[in-house]
Amino acid sequence: MCGIAGFIKTDHSISEPCNSISPGGQDRQLLEEMIWPLRHRGPDGFGFYLDQVCGLAHARLSIIDLEGGWQPIFNEDNTIAVVFNGEIFNYIELKQELIREGHIFRTESDTEVIVHLYESCGKDFPKKLNGQFAIALYDSKKKSLLLIRDRLGIRPLFYTVHKDRLYFASEIKGIFNGNPAIEREFDPDALRQIFTFWTPAGEATPFKGIKQLKPGHLMEVTPSSEPSVHRQRPFWSVPFLKGHEYTPVTEKEAASQLRELLIDAVRLRLRSDVPVGAYLSGGLDSSVITSIIHHFTDTPLETFSITFSDRVYDESKEQQELVRYLDTRHHTVRCDYKTISDVFPDVLWHTEYPLVRTAPAPLYLLSKLVNRHDYKVVLTGEGSDEILGGYDIFKEAKIRRFIAKNPNSAWRPLLLKRLYPYLALSPAKSAHFAKKFFDTEADTADPFYSHRPRWKTTAGILAFTNPELFGSTEDPERLLETQLQQELKGLDPFCQAQHLEISLLLSNYLLSSQGDRMAMAHSVEGRFPFLDHRIVEFAGTLPVGFKMKVLDEKYLLKAAFSDILPEEIVKRKKQPYMAPDILSFFSDGPADYLEFHLSKEQIEKANIFRWKAVETLFNKCKRKKRQGFRENMAFVAILSTQIIFHKFISDFQFQRPKELENTKIVKGGGNV
């Protein structure tokens, strides 16, 4: 796990003398400045490559081949260089194949298979990788740079084109830090998408001109290619079969296949030269993962959990039950309101995206705990809800469709009441209103049916925004219709909802703001067995009834693993992971930084929100800490946007690298 950064020249005139390449030279310095703010991702050392066309930088977190795995890594004749962030879990098998083909390996690292696999398969090579990766591979003979991101977007990769160069980095701050000339400003379209979907859609990021390489995509950049047409293409897409394409399989067979696949996915993810721990939430998914480690591997179990002082969010009881059952060495970090508000500004330095919830903050504290116990790698349960059908929104859509079939039924709306019993202020308390909020009269043939009510609720944030700025932005839902209509067409409604969760929220929010960024903030690598692409592909072939049987979520997962789990965990009603929002900032009086970020001056300087509306909301929060959905989301959205404005736009602190010479610098390409 690591951070990567670099650039490639995109103009035709690349024959300029390379006077800037020597130490202290301009491009060498640029690379150091780009990688320096990413050193939390790779605190163990740096490596560089530089020639007349391309520069690569790497910050390393040593996990596999601690001695030999320094990057960049080259092929046999040093014409192909790679820097990479992530893990290739099937590297042992791939290496054996490549050695049989005659490739010569110099290291024991997983990185080295990338260059040889590229030599062997060309640009199709990512299809052979089982892993989580953001790769920058430079072929110096062709003068071509390939940027590649894993299938589900576990590892991040951002890029921008400025003047005659394309710059890329694992985090946006790397691009900004190396390039003061690049304008740092919000993209109102992307903000409107965040204030609707919780995340920007497609390639967008909150910042104008900065894009993310989409999950499962490969982009090729050569000096001769026009900046506007960098060739991007998918090497994988979310695989859902249409109803008639399902292979007939019994529940028992499917459960046994899932069991076999998941055990193998866990085994692969325990490959590491440093100890591997696991997160334990108290829910089904992390319980399945830890239980597999306990029952099917020799790995000693060290587990890590968040507990909350507010019982609404706390799952200690379930966590402890599992700790006893599996006899793990367990560590916890207690999260109260104040700890969330204390770390919130730092959390945003890492997410780089405005948030509508504080939920990433406890995960920031959790990775700190893991780091403190000298662990670098943890297995977690992310992805299970998306691919095996666990979310309430899937249930909600099912109930809404059920009501729509007989709108006059008096008892059908009562099912909505069963949906959100864990919420203090439940929208479903009144069935009459619930029917309206869950828009049970909407068109059930709409491929976006499942998610429209959630988007409508979130878009309540827009009431606080400056209409002049947002007036000319595109309606996010229309935009998404254009982007996804084709992919959703013909799928079962349940799979449409899953597809939306996977393509919108999974990569752009859960695996990033709540995943990679929070773990890497403390140099911890998350690994996600449920997101092994073989399992995602397998789940795509399952009849929907195996995922949610009537209203029983993740039915097949329970069937596959109930024999190695405590009964209470299997039977337990699903509790979504959440953290207190407004409460966190006002429990001991307003947090000290609120007055600054929500001041008239700052609000007007950023020009995203209307001062009067912000002031009214701020006062409302001071009066009363328990608030509704809209207020909670709006407050977190406004505060996080303002803090990001301050940290990344108005007062970006350029960091000058220091003491790089004290860390290990691997010379690459003969030029650095």
């Binding site: 209103f433 009431a463 209307r610 409302k620 509704g628």
Partner: protein
Amino acid sequence: MSDIKIKIREFIIENFLFGEGGEELKDDDSFLDKGVIDSTGVLELVEWIEDNYQFKIEDDELIPENLDSINNLAAFIAKKTSK
């Protein structure tokens, strides 16, 4: 305009419209259709009525006919407080 309506309007503007746009809200506009309140807003509204008018709203009274516009609310509160 009755006192109840003025008080309701003030509460709606301050709490759900965040101090702005009140002039566009008519007395018979549906809060739900106009997006004035979201799902949890209903409960906030109920809490406010119970706190300010000293009566308890039963679950079966949680219906749009009682709560979904300034007019409906005013009529509902008047009926309950006149008993």
